[in-house]
């Protein structure tokens, strides 16, 4: 077990550094290929055919703040890098964890129930699978435009779905690390699986902590990539999500590609196509 912990530190720190390097190179290519010039100087940004609604924007904002806080306090709990912060960081972690879980259920409710339910925007389809190679080629500068069949591309859809699923796993493993809540021992609720596989509760909590730590790194790395792509691919939408700008809208039905409905036409979508 000690070796596992040290290996995880080493692997994820290295991966994180590599991700930063890779996306720094990606940013350089954005400049070299003129994508940054077309976007930030000429203002050629993707357009949206549906308004970004207030509730998802608020939930997203709240989620961002909480995830930053959770990553910071969680990393402090593992690597206490300043004196006297353990108790405060733990309580901050617990509080933000509750907000994130409430947030997650609120977002799922919004996606599945109500007038503006948008679960279809996140559902991968066969058309998404067909254009997936094109999306990848666009991001590695092997293709000038991004195939566009839906509100989100296939990579976004997969990442958002996996993110939501991992939030459930993260919440479960996090609760299994809590021993008592208001004087009640809650570990049996979350470590019941240790009995059938023949390891003790303490070892089960240790393995839960390892999973919790791995997912924490996955969140950090995915969030860094997500933030980078949000800014470089659609800065106006990024500003609207945080309340200090407005995304580009085109309600005429075409928003940069053929006026047919989403999913019917596989065409280019990106800054180049509107040039």
């Amino acid at each position: 077990m000690p070796e596992i912990n040290v290996w995880l530190d080493m692997i994820f720190t290295t991966v994180f550094v590599l991700v930063v390097i890779v996306f720094s190179v990606h940013l350089l290519f954005n400049f070299l290929t003129g994508r940054m010039y077309r976007r930030f100087v000429k203002g050629e940004w993707p357009t949206h055919d549906a308004p970004l609604r207030m509730l998802p924007k608020f939930l997203h904002f709240q989620h961002v703040v909480c995830m930053f806080g959770l990553a910071f306090s969680g990393m402090y709990i593992r690597f206490p890098f300043f004196a006297g912060g353990r108790t405060a960081m733990r309580y901050l972690h617990y509080f933000l964890m509750i907000v994130v879980i409430v947030n997650l259920f609120a977002r799922l409710a919004y996606a599945f129930v109500g007038r503006h339910k948008d679960r279809k925007q996140f559902t991968p389809t066969m058309r998404d699978v067909k254009v997936a190679p094109g999306v990848v080629l666009y991001y590695i500068f092997m293709r000038p435009t991004k195939p566009h069949v839906d509100h989100y591309n296939i990579m976004q859809k997969l990442v958002y779905i996996v993110f939501a699923l991992l939030l459930f796993v993260q919440a479960f493993t996090g609760f299994s690390l809590l021993t008592t809540v208001f004087g009640i021992n809650i570990q049996p609720l979350f470590l019941w699986w240790t009995g059938p596989i023949g390891i003790g509760v303490a070892a089960g909590a240790a393995y839960s902590r390892i999973i919790h730590y791995i997912i924490n790194w996955v969140f950090i790395i995915v969030t860094v990539i997500h933030a980078y792509l949000s800014v470089t691919e659609d800065y106006p939408a990024f500003t609207e999500f945080f309340g200090f700008g407005s995304a580009n809208y085109d309600f005429s039905g075409g928003h940069g590609h053929e006026p047919a409905a989403h999913g019917a036409v596989i065409t280019g979508h990106g800054s180049e196509e509107t040039a």
């Binding site: 040290v6 290996w7 080493m10 206490p80 890098f81 006297g84 353990r86 240790t194 003790g200 303490a202």
Partner: protein, 297 residues
């Protein structure tokens, strides 16, 4: 005639020398007894008599080139758990004279004095590695770990704790004092105590991270190679079980991290592979900083 005069002079000189020598002898014997001939008359039932002199902040004596203070802070003493105990309850070898010239083996006296009230703790201590196996000169006494005049002092520990860790509780301050207390003799062990959730947290003031004695025991402490160890393979389940419920052998595989995290990290293959890069980055950073310092002094 000349011979007679010479003998008389020599006799007078001898008388004179004997006179001066006797005068010097008398003076030195007087010097040895003075300046205090008086019997000790201050009250020693409480501590007011002692504090007549010892409350003076300038009270010190130069011994072997060191200026040793004999000042007692009454405010600290009043906040100690021993505030109602007279000085003589601990200073049992008091000489009833001033200055107190008799050499005091205060370490031994302190242990013997504590025993009078704390019998159980003393019994456990004398059978432990600290009480019986440690070399006489290095043997820790009660005061070595628990302190003396400021023992359990809210004021002293709170001040120290707030300075060290930003903690306000005396109990927390005592809990966090292990690194300094035990590190005086066991520096390698306290230095290596740096794993994620125990040592690193403890050294950064986590009140719930275990202190040295939470695992190794306190008064009845044994060496790790002792036949009756507190922390060894046979007792790890019990030691870790104080905080972790349901401890099994699987869980104990973590224990090498507790005093070996740095070693395990340094032996990690990936760490050894990336180490030249991190060293290079550190060197580059240092170079850039020195350039920046020279440009913007």
């Amino acid at each position: 005639m000349r011979h007679g005069e010479s003998s008389a002079r020599r006799g007078a000189l001898v008388v004179l020398v004997v006179f001066w020598l006797s005068l010097l002898g008398t003076a030195s014997s007087v010097w040895a007894q003075s300046p205090y001939q008086a019997t000790f008359t201050l009250g020693i039932g409480g501590r007011s008599g002692c504090l007549v002199c010892h409350s003076d902040q300038n009270m010190a004596r130069l011994t072997a080139g060191r200026n040793i203070s004999y000042y007692i802070n009454e405010e600290v003493l009043n906040s100690s758990v021993h505030k109602d105990i007279s000085c003589l309850a601990c200073h049992t070898d008091f000489t009833y004279g001033t200055p107190h010239r008799a050499k005091s083996n205060w370490k031994k006296v302190a242990s013997e004095a504590c025993k009078n009230c704390h019998k159980n703790a003393y019994q456990r201590y004398i059978s432990s590695a600290h009480g019986s196996r440690a070399p006489e000169a290095k043997r820790p006494t009660c005061g070595g770990c628990h302190g003396s005049h400021a023992i359990g002092s809210q004021l002293a520990t709170q001040t120290a704790a707030s300075l060290l860790y930003g903690q306000s509780s005396a109990a927390t301050a005592f809990h966090l004092s292990g690194q300094k207390m035990c590190g005086r003799c066991h520096q390698a062990a306290t230095d290596s105590y740096s794993d994620y959730y125990h040592g690193a947290a403890y050294k950064n003031g986590a009140p719930d991270a275990p202190a040295c004695w939470d695992c190794h025991g306190s008064h009845k402490i044994y060496g790790v190679r002792s036949k009756n160890p507190s922390v060894a393979e046979m007792d790890l389940v019990e030691a870790c079980g104080q905080c972790h419920a349901g401890v099994t052998k699987d869980f104990l595989s973590y224990t090498p991290m507790i005093h070996g995290s740095e070693r395990i990290r340094s032996e990690n293959l990936l760490w050894r592979s990336v180490r030249p890069v991190t060293d290079w980055l550190a060197g580059t950073k240092e170079l850039l900083m020195s350039v920046a310092r020279s440009l913007f002094p």
